[in-house]
């Protein structure tokens, strides 16, 4: 029987109080954004933010708890923008959103950083100490290597394939330093918005597999902003080393995603992007549960190991009250299905 898991890939909106205190401590300009060596006062604020994120998830009743990535000023480009071998260039658009991040220009070898591992360690400690955390376990969040390479500018490595491989090796090194985690989310929106060229699919899937192989945890390769191209989808199922592909059932044409799964099969587990991370309208748990059952019924397999119930994108696009409501909707939907 398929296990239903309520989870998110992280990147939460800062609580409103932290939006104020951190903008006062850090400033509003490009040069004020996080560089990874922030001072004590800023560290303390982020510690409080992290604790609040963990509480939010436990209060909602999610099955996986993430760190929440409050420090990620540059969204999923964060692991590079705080790296010593990276210079940050101009502010550039984050996918098709009214959001911007600093262009990470990779100018030297991407050696080990440990920035994300430190955050995850702290989240793990919070979870271990929390009341009522018995049913929840830790999930890690990273950008997938394809998207991270796509968002960055390569000024050091050879061609595109070399760069993807180098970013993958870097991310694998980061994962190796993570504390124990049950699930690893690799966010890969670029697979939909700017897919690999015909014939270059395996370069992307090899890079993802490099990162996936670095952990014993379940690996979810989460895609966003619509359906995957069918050929790329088939490559991902076969080659990416993912336990679950994450599919966006909110944006774009859902039928394309159903077609992919019917035609090319699926990973042993699936993650379904069911609640809209970019709209304040909060879904009813029953509606979310129906969508899960509907999607599972479209697929020829006997059943999956796990179905992850997730938002279709990161949640930082939302105001803080609605982000919490979305966590509640996911957890409640999983309960409806139980």
């Amino acid at each position: 029987m398929t296990q239903r898991v309520a989870a998110t890939p992280g990147l939460y909106p800062l609580p409103d109080w932290a939006k104020e205190t951190l903008s006062e401590l850090k400033g509003h300009q490009k040069g004020d954004l996080l560089s990874g060596d922030e001072g004590e006062a800023i560290v303390e604020q982020y510690d409080e933010v992290r604790a609040e994120f963990v509480d939010d998830q436990l209060d909602a009743g999610l099955d996986r708890v993430v760190e929440g990535q409050g420090r990620w000023d540059d969204m999923i480009a964060h692991p590079l923008t705080v790296h010593d071998s990276v210079e940050t260039g101009g502010i550039v658009r984050y996918y098709d959103n009214n959001n911007f991040y600093r262009d990470p220009r990779v100018v030297d070898d991407l050696d080990f950083s440990g920035d994300v591992a430190r955050e995850l360690e702290a989240a793990g400690d919070l979870l271990a100490d929390a009341d009522g955390a018995a049913d929840a376990s830790l999930a890690a969040t990273l950008p997938g290597p394809y998207s991270l390479a796509d968002l960055a500018t390569n000024e050091h490595y050879g061609d595109e394939a070399d760069f993807q491989a180098a970013v993958a090796e870097f991310l694998a090194g980061e994962v190796a330093a993570f504390p124990d985690h049950e699930t690893l989310f690799l966010l890969e929106p670029s697979l939909v918005t700017n897919p690999p060229a015909e014939g270059a699919e395996s370069t992307a899937t090899d890079a993802i597999a490099t990162v996936a192989d670095a952990t014993d945890a379940d690996v979810v390769v989460q895609t966003s902003y619509g359906a995957l191209g069918e050929k790329l989808y088939a490559h991902l199922v076969d080659e990416a080393g993912a336990d679950a592909l994450g599919l966006d059932l909110v944006a774009g044409d859902r039928d394309d995603t159903v077609y992919n799964v019917q035609e090319f099969g699926a990973t042993d587990s699936l993650a379904l992007g069911l609640v809209d991370g970019q709209n304040t309208l909060v879904e009813e748990p029953e509606t979310v549960a129906e969508r899960v059952e509907w999607f599972e019924s479209q697929v020829p397999a006997e059943g999956f190991d796990r179905t992850y119930l997730t938002p279709n994108t990161e949640l930082f696009y939302l105001p803080a009250n609605k982000y919490r409501a979305k966590l509640n909707a996911l957890a409640a939907a999983a309960e409806v299905l139980d």
């Binding site: 300009q29 490009k30 658009r93 009214n98 696009y317 105001p319």
Partner: protein, 356 residues
């Protein structure tokens, strides 16, 4: 199709204009707020302060007088109040339109946030949005006043849509409300309206939605009213030549920021509305020299003849230090008047404007 810019341009030509050639000078709209006004906005929120809403209104009036005068002093042919009463280009309108609600700030980048509203039911017109603002500015100004309005595409797509089956349908309903507001502004005497649609630059494939929204906005608006459209920071090859079909008099665009790399896009086929060209950068805190601005103005003459060229900064100037913003406007006007004189004398060949 394009409206009739010839029918409304001359009303903005000052009686004492010194040259035969006339390049209309204007600004996009926003201007740095005096620091005391920001303090006043905060003070009114402070429960311990005696500073109340009527004090704030007085402060806004004072700021509008001051900034409108500052625009006149720079020598502009058409002026604005620098949007002293407005907080943010979507929030200000969402606050006045029934159907929107606010849930709290969302991130744009870094620690820059915006109170992105949600549309939770059908939008509806309640009280006028800008008529008081226009009447006040008109009273204090000796020059014609331009009114910038955030366009329906931006008001729709830079909000969360909870209520409409598609955001396109929301945009058309909003366009009908903008039309109602434009009618009221025209009744109050406004003759120069600028629709701001920065969201179009992020999703140029939606140009047809913006076109349909503009048709609704200008419905019933006489041709003596000048309708401009401002877009900024986009890839214009994706919306040109389609904008030649828009029912507008003037297309206002930032190209100084990109060093006019995109000018050739607008030269083929022939550009139909008047061109309002950005000739000073809104995001660099140095005042461009008159000579440099004159070179930038010549770029516009590659696209349209002088009688169809309007000159403005790239975008709203609100993020600049105030003295820099003023310096840019002042040098811009000086540069325009010198270019006009050089066109009159034949020193600039309008058929080959970059040739010295």
């Amino acid at each position: 199709m394009v409206r009739n810019p010839d029918a409304n341009r001359d009303q903005f030509r000052p009686h004492d204009h010194p040259n035969d050639a006339f390049l209309l000078t204007t600004v996009v709209g926003s201007y740095p707020k005096p620091k005391w006004l920001n303090r006043a906005d905060e003070l009114v929120e402070d429960p311990d302060s005696k500073f109340d809403a009527s004090d704030l209104e007085e402060a806004h009036d004072d700021a509008c007088r001051l900034v409108t005068r500052e625009h006149e002093r720079a020598g502009l042919d058409t002026v604005v109040d620098g949007e002293m009463r407005r907080n943010e280009m979507v929030e200000f309108f969402a606050d006045r339109i029934d159907g929107y609600e606010f849930n709290g700030p969302v991130k744009v980048w870094g620690h820059n946030y915006f109170d992105k509203p949600s549309v939770v039911e059908e939008v509806a017109y309640d009280e006028p949005w800008l008529v008081d603002e226009f009447e006040f500015t008109s009273d204090v100004s000796e020059r014609p006043v331009k009114v910038p309005i955030t366009g329906p595409y931006t008001l729709g797509f830079w909000a969360f849509n909870e209520a409409y089956p598609s955001t396109e349908e929301l945009v058309y309903d909003l366009a009908d409300l903008v039309n109602e507001e434009v009618e009221k502004l025209v009744e109050a005497g406004a003759r120069y309206i600028q629709i701001d649609e920065p969201a179009l630059a992020t999703t140029p494939e939606d140009h047809a939605i913006v076109g349909e929204a503009l048709e609704r906005i200008v419905s019933g608006i006489d041709e003596d009213v000048r309708i401009g459209l401002h877009v900024c920071y986009g890839d214009y090859s994706r919306i040109y030549p389609e904008i030649n079909d828009y029912p507008i008099d003037e297309f206002d665009v930032e190209l100084c920021n990109g060093e006019y790399e995109q000018i050739p896009t607008f030269t083929d086929p022939e550009f139909e509305p008047d061109l309002a060209l950005g000739v000073v950068d809104a995001h660099t805190a140095e005042v461009e020299s008159v000579e440099a601005i004159k070179e930038n103005i010549r770029q516009g003459l590659r696209v349209v003849p002088p009688e169809k060229l309007t000159v403005s900064p790239d975008c709203g100037l609100k993020l600049l230090p105030r003295d820099i913003a003023y310096g840019k406007m002042e040098n811009m006007v000086t540069a325009v008047r010198e270019v006009e004189a050089e066109i009159d004398s034949g020193a600039i060949d309008v058929d080959d404007p970059l040739d010295d």
